[in-house]
């Protein structure tokens, strides 16, 4: 059996890739993908811990996370579409009508 630490390292790596993507990419769609990576890192954790602890709570919760991630993407794509319509770009740093 694969030790639980391996899963944690994997999920931490995926999470960090997501964080890196958020910090470096300016494309809103890339940002969305990076957030998805972070959510899936949490899912890896949940399923691995669920296996480790011997209860199904974590696995069921990861299903909820997946559904919510999809809902979040749906709302996000909608917002990115109106962003494109208003600013002719999906660069998140272009939208600066208000002072930061």
């Amino acid at each position: 059996m694969v030790p639980i630490e391996y899963y944690m390292v994997l999920s931490a790596a995926v999470f960090c890739i997501g964080v890196f993507g958020i910090l470096t990419r300016r494309n809103a769609l890339m940002f969305l993908m990076s957030v998805e990576l972070m959510l899936n890192a949490a899912n890896i954790n949940l399923v691995a811990f669920s296996f480790q602890n011997g209860n199904l709570t974590g696995q069921v919760f990861s299903l909820f996370t997946m559904a919510l991630a999809a809902a979040e993407v749906a709302v996000g794509i909608g917002i990115i579409l109106v962003l494109y319509r208003n600013f002719d770009d999906v660069d998140v740093t272009k939208a600066t009508t208000m002072r930061w």
Binding site: I4, M8, S11, F15, G18, I22, A28, F31, L32, V35, M38, L39, A41, A42, N43, N45, L46, A48, F49, S50, Q52, N53, N55, T57, G58, V60, F61, F64, T65, L68, A71, E72, V75, G76, G78, I79, I80, V82, L83, R85, N86, F87, V92, A95, T96, T97, M98, W100
Partner: protein, 498 residues
């Protein structure tokens, strides 16, 4: 007696169910004839739904006396705390739906607006009663996702879209951080239910405290987003400035309160200070101090009234964070939490009212800076009296409930009697004094300054006016009547802590 009356099963969730059914009803009404939506009907249904939910919450609170009701095998719990906050959410929702009647008249997608508001309110009431990380996360998302869409509601307005984008980006990031934190806590304790987490924490091995600490920090990050406090605060000025003003009112009052109720429950029930090896009280003390100072200082430098209110709302999040930062071992814990809850009630009315006044100004086409408000009192004295009550109450002058609730917070912090809480109490006094400066700039502009050009207000919209006056009367009455709420709040906090 009434106290022993049992409200069994799902009936205890009546406020949540009413709000959810209202949202579906609005969708169905819109489906009948999407092209011709009647503003009065939609606004009426939404307001009625939130009023019924408000009444239901009150009735359940009176009937059960805040006795905890565990539902769905402990996934949800309906107790004094959740009903108290349901009261806040439903009153804010009522004010906002009432005020939106006039604000939305010229927009096409009215039904969608009300549906999203009702869905977000449903999520908030669920947050108040969630008793497990799973329900907490799902309800938090149910409250957040409609809010993103609401902020970007004016889809041809660049400011609104930009605000929606920023709110969404930070929101998505913080919810990912939040769920990762949950997964770490689940790994340590093997459970998602709050009381089960607390009982498992006693058996945690030495090596796992680090993982638990990271998990708790990440969960704090999730709450910091929802309550607009440091470090996830900087979406707030953008989102509140760009969003339609009723939405800003809704988010800054109800959404913030929702973040706090779930934070209160998680940190007192799931991670009680006595069993967790992680000093989260210190973390909250630092966050409270930084948040209130940053919010107030930034507010003092603004030229735009709406943005000033946004920063002041960050400052108020800092005040309420005292309720978590003062939960030291020596404190009277029920009183500390109760003080935070009371401030949120008063804040719900006065802040909603202030943002609705801004909505009124937007409705009239008045500009957004302080100068644009010059001489408004000559045109609309009633609304300006109300706005003055809101602002002075926000600053903590004894004209509205804000005075007493801030006093309670200071008393709670002083009573906890550690160096950290003394600093917090002191910071609250200093910051309130500073806030008086920038709030009174608006009052001065409205009452004393002469209007720049000749300007006629365009009509007196009934719904907006009604909402503003109700909020003003409530803010004013909360000064003498706050005793009523104090007992309920402290009892609710006490029954949750034990």
């Amino acid at each position: 007696m009434l106290q022993t009356l049992q409200i069994s099963g799902t009936a205890a969730l009546a406020p949540t169910l009413v709000l959810g059914v209202t949202a579906l009803l609005l969708l169905l009404i819109d489906s009948i004839d999407p092209e011709e939506s009647s503003s009065a009907l939609l606004s009426g249904v939404a307001t009625l739904g939130s009023l019924v939910a408000l009444a239901a919450a009150g009735a359940i609170l009176v009937a059960t006396g805040g006795e905890p009701q565990s539902l769905f095998q402990g996934q949800l719990v309906v107790d004094g705390m959740s009903l108290f906050f349901t009261f806040i959410f439903t009153s804010v929702t009522t004010l906002v739906t009432l005020a939106s009647y006039d604000y939305l008249k010229e927009f096409r997608y009215k039904a969608e607006f009300y549906t999203l508001v009702m869905l977000a309110a449903t999520g908030m009431t669920l947050m108040a009663s969630s008793n497990s990380m799973a329900t907490a996360f799902v309800s938090l998302e149910l409250a957040s996702l409609p809010s993103y869409a609401l902020v970007a509601f004016l889809k041809n307005n660049r400011g609104s879209v930009e605000a929606g984008l920023k709110y969404f980006l930070i929101g998505a990031l913080s919810s990912a951080v939040f769920v990762y934190g949950i997964s770490l806590v689940y790994g340590v304790t093997g459970s998602l239910q709050f009381d089960a987490i607390a009982s498992e924490l006693g058996n945690t091995g030495e090596g796992l405290v680090g993982v638990l600490g990271v998990g708790i920090l990440m969960i704090i990050g999730g709450f910091a987003f929802k309550t607009a406090s440091v470090p996830f605060h900087w979406w707030a000025p953008e989102a509140y400035e760009g969003a339609p003003a009723p939405v800003s009112a809704f988010l800054s009052s109800a959404s913030k309160a929702a973040g706090f109720v779930i934070a209160f429950r998680v940190f007192t029930v799931a991670f009680p200070q006595s069993t967790v090896g992680v000093d989260w009280v210190l973390a909250f003390q630092v966050l409270a101090l930084v948040t209130m100072t940053l919010g107030n200082f930034a507010a003092a430098t603004q030229e735009n009234v709406k943005r000033m209110m946004a920063y002041s709302s960050i400052g108020h999040a800092g005040y309420v964070l005292i309720a978590l930062g003062a939960l030291t071992g020596s404190a009277n814990q029920a009183f500390v939490l109760g003080a935070g809850m009371i401030h949120l009630v008063v804040y719900g009315f006065m802040n909603t009212g202030a943002f609705l006044f801004i909505a009124l100004a937007e409705y009239w086409g008045v500009g957004r800076t302080f100068e644009d408000y010059n001489g408004l009192a000559k045109q609309a004295p009633v609304a300006c009296v109300a706005m003055t009550v809101f602002l002075f109450s926000l600053a903590g002058l004894p004209i509205g409930g804000g005075f007493l609730s801030k006093f309670f917070l200071i008393a709670a912090a002083v009573e906890a009697a550690t160096i950290g809480t003394y600093v917090l109490a002191f910071a609250l006094v200093i910051n309130s004094a500073l806030s008086l400066f920038y709030y009174s700039r608006v009052v001065k502009a409205m009452w004393i300054e002469d209007p720049v050009g000749d300007f006629e207000v365009g009509g007196y919209p009934t719904g907006l006016y009604a909402a503003i006056i109700v909020a003003a009367v409530a803010t004013f009455l909360l000064l003498p009547a706050l005793g009523l709420f104090t007992n309920v709040a402290v009892d609710a906090a006490a029954s949750m802590i034990q």
